[in-house]
Symmetry: C2
Subunit: 113 residues, 2 copies
């Protein structure tokens, strides 16, 4: 039986990609250390490592906008995790449903929607 064997980077992190299990929308990209990954796997609630605050972070601990994990997947070289989640509210700290609320035009202009 193949087992989870994450390849953490020099900072001890893997990339976590979060999509809405219902809409398929990309909600956010974050990072996980070994503890965040273990807690996410065992509790079914998304946990991350905050690079800016240098602390373990249960998503929604302060905002209430938790992410319930419906499915976890891992990529070919085991350095990226895909979480399909049921969000309890807007995933982005700006209040948007997704952090990816801006489109990039070919000239580099950004636009919402």
């Amino acid at each position: 039986m193949e087992r989870l064997d994450p390849k953490f980077d020099a900072n001890g992190l893997v990339t976590a990609v979060v999509t809405d299990v219902t809409s398929g929308e990309l909600l956010m990209v974050a990072h996980m250390n070994a503890e965040a990954l273990d807690l996410t796997r065992t509790t079914g609630e998304a946990h991350f490592w905050s690079r800016s605050r240098s602390e373990l972070w249960r998503k929604g601990a302060t905002s209430g906008n938790t992410l319930k994990v419906a499915e976890m997947r891992i990529d070919c070289d085991q350095d990226a995790i895909w979480l399909k989640v049921v969000p309890a509210g807007p995933a982005c700290h700006t209040g948007a449903d997704s952090c990816f609320f801006r489109k990039i035009a070919s000239d580099g202009a950004l636009s919402e929607g």
Copy 2:
């Protein structure tokens, strides 16, 4: 007009998340330096920075499995890019359509499908 102003990390990279514009499936996660991002934006073909080979990489240059960019989006803090693409073939070097072909069970076992 708001402009693209990517926040590259200490290695000069942002994270790139690639989904299939038709199925919505997460295909792969990779990294871009400023040049890869510029080339992707201006040519409409996905370019990345290979961390293992330390070189700029036009996806599909050797395999033929290029990624035509239908839409580019950026996240709230401008350190992650979302590419919605039309893949010319399997996105994963293993031959799988997606690099995320394995599910993680809560006990850490991996399974395909």
